[in-house]
Symmetry: C2
Subunit: 381 residues, 2 copies
């Protein structure tokens, strides 16, 4: 980090916390008696409270989407490429809200929080939360912030699923839904990868059926494996080739099982560093929220009927090399919206980065995203 913050950054930001004492009924049938949500905001809320946008995070994201927490911060928030003055989600015009979802491990109520009924951390007893539950909790946050209607709800990957769910569940409370690199539901392959990640965590002897806090352990091996596997699915084959090829770290084969290829080194590093900043029980919950997302399920698997209630305008974006949620999956959403006669724009961005492209400064992507957000801002149809 430079001594001065970049001029196109929102700069120093401070997380805030909202406490909810009214119980929240969840899809699983259980009720959270009370909970807290941690969130950040960037940009000013205008006088008529019409310029607020909600950012929904993906599997390993959190409320810190942009800016820096201190001058010593080495990295900005996870969507710094897209949020800030002059960027697609332009903080000179929008009031941006981003929260850590329920079940998270960065300040909102989740497995690491104290269960008021037992006085101990929830751990594995934290209820399984769904995208619908998240949207419900986000709607309450909006009420408390005095935001009756979002100018837009925006997200990539699992975040995009939340934006889609918002449009279905609270049709009057958002004008635009921006759904990036998402899918209307997971494929068997997607679920398969999630299941391998879960098995890696749950079969780690240090997992202790999720009660590892009490055992003062962390299922490091399992969580690192889950992250390594995740990373492969976030990158395209082409991106990995461009990034690592078959480069050898030491220049020649070692005929052993230590790290040899650069890609191995990268994956091990990603796995190990993730363990320091993410909670395994939260990871399990997030993968389940992904697996369960299926808004068409209540409508005879007819997504067009599921989105029929929506009143928002939609922007759907996908990336050519994304094989986790391929463009064809985004097109399923577009087709359902078209079939249901909803206003929808669709952009398929040429990019070799794979699923991670939604976090990358790809000129075509930023330009398309900016153009749409200008439209959101100007209220043009």
């Amino acid at each position: 980090m430079p001594d001065t913050l970049p001029p196109d950054s929102v700069g120093l930001v401070t997380p805030q916390k909202m406490v909810f004492d009214e119980p929240l009924a969840l899809d699983c049938g259980r009720t959270l008696p009370s909970y807290e949500l941690v969130y950040e905001t960037y940009g000013e809320l205008n006088a008529d409270r019409s310029n607020a946008v909600l950012i929904c995070h993906a599997l390993s994201g959190n409320h810190h989407a942009a800016g820096y927490h201190s001058l010593e911060d080495r990295k900005p928030g996870w969507w710094e490429t897209c949020i800030g003055p002059g960027k697609p989600i332009d903080t000179d015009h929008f009031h941006v809200v981003c929260l850590n979802n329920l079940g998270g491990c960065h300040g909102s109520t989740g497995p690491m929080s104290i269960n008021p009924e037992t006085g101990k951390p929830y751990g594995p007893d934290f209820p399984i939360v769904t995208v619908r539950d998240w949207v419900r909790s986000q709607a309450r946050l909006a009420e408390r912030l005095g935001i009756e209607q979002w100018a837009a709800v925006i997200g990539g990957s699992l975040g995009g699923m939340q934006a889609l769910q918002w449009a279905i569940d609270f049709p009057e409370r958002l004008r635009h839904a921006v759904v990036i690199a998402a899918a209307p539901k997971l494929s068997a392959q997607n679920i398969g990868f999630n299941e391998v990640a879960r098995q890696a965590i749950m079969s780690d002897p240090d997992f202790h059926d999720g009660h590892y806090y009490e055992h003062h352990t962390i299922p490091r091996r399992g969580l690192a494996l889950a992250r390594m596997l995740g990373h492969i699915t976030y990158l395209s084959d082409e991106a990995m080739r461009a990034k690592f090829g078959r480069e050898l770290r030491e220049g020649k084969l070692s005929f052993g099982f230590d790290v040899e290829f650069q890609v191995e080194s990268y994956l091990r590093y990603q796995g190990q560093s993730f363990v320091e900043k993410f909670d395994a029980n939260t990871y399990l919950l997030m993968t389940k929220a992904l697996d369960y997302f299926d808004p068409a399920a209540d409508y005879d698997n007819d997504l067009a009927r599921a989105v029929d209630r929506a009143r928002a305008e939609f922007m759907i974006m996908s990336f050519t090399s994304d094989w986790r949620f391929a463009p064809s999956r985004s097109r399923e959403i577009v087709k359902a919206l078209v079939d249901s006669r909803k206003p929808v724009s669709y952009a398929e961005i040429e990019a070799h980065h794979g699923h991670d492209a939604f976090l990358m400064p790809i000129p075509d992507y930023l330009a398309t995203f900016s153009a749409y957000m200008t439209r959101v801002r100007e209220g043009r149809p």
Copy 2:
């Protein structure tokens, strides 16, 4: 298994063993002082010994490619679809040889074998073997069997890589190389998946740095995870959708972490049953042989130059939905052969099964394979 064996099967077969007392120098710089290879044969060797074909196995394969070991056997050999009377590799015409590769866990010398220098199992001290080492050991087996020239060397996946290496290393000793669902070298993504599998095994506390035999343990969790992950890469997204969709085992969501979706059940079963029949140290070795395979490396990464020495005719086959070794990877081999002016046929088979297609009874595949093998048999150019 029925009481009578199917008429298009090679029927009851008995593995044989060949002992090699002459040392084998390996690519890693170490030498195996002696070793054994277990193998099976099907069909008669003709008088001039010209009808022998060698089958090379893939990652988890072995010498038992066709037929049954007993009338109680529930399953035939792994390539029963392609080997037998009237099948593509027609045992009425060919003498088929298939061996378990060095480093294997089904009878050939490998990590579970006794190291003559210590009197204890090799375990993790078994040297890392390469595709080239395998081909060298297979050439010695051919000599002992009195087979001066194979009518064809044939394999799928890692087996196809051996067929390609044969054509380069022993140009005069095979007339045809049939390379199915292979690649000229692994991509960074391929290596990445292998690395996650290795890390799963090696980080299992029951692995004991590979000395688990002595600890009377098996790294079950790790090996099962490796296999689960492997299975996802063997199937196409489409095949998984056709096979499992998002079907729930109990018909409704359980909001817990037990098996819910059919695909989870399938993967867990595959993982757990694999542990009973495969050795973890062998799995590690096989993944390294895959990672290291790169015949162009010695020729300035020019595959056309690498294959220049070859004298065989080539048949390359790929499957449209194979994303582990996609058709584009097979086409790299075809291009190198064409650039090097070698006789090559190429078939890209329409199939939704993914990488596993090479094991499946796909009519177009069997017909194409049969047509080529008829040509091999008749010695037509």
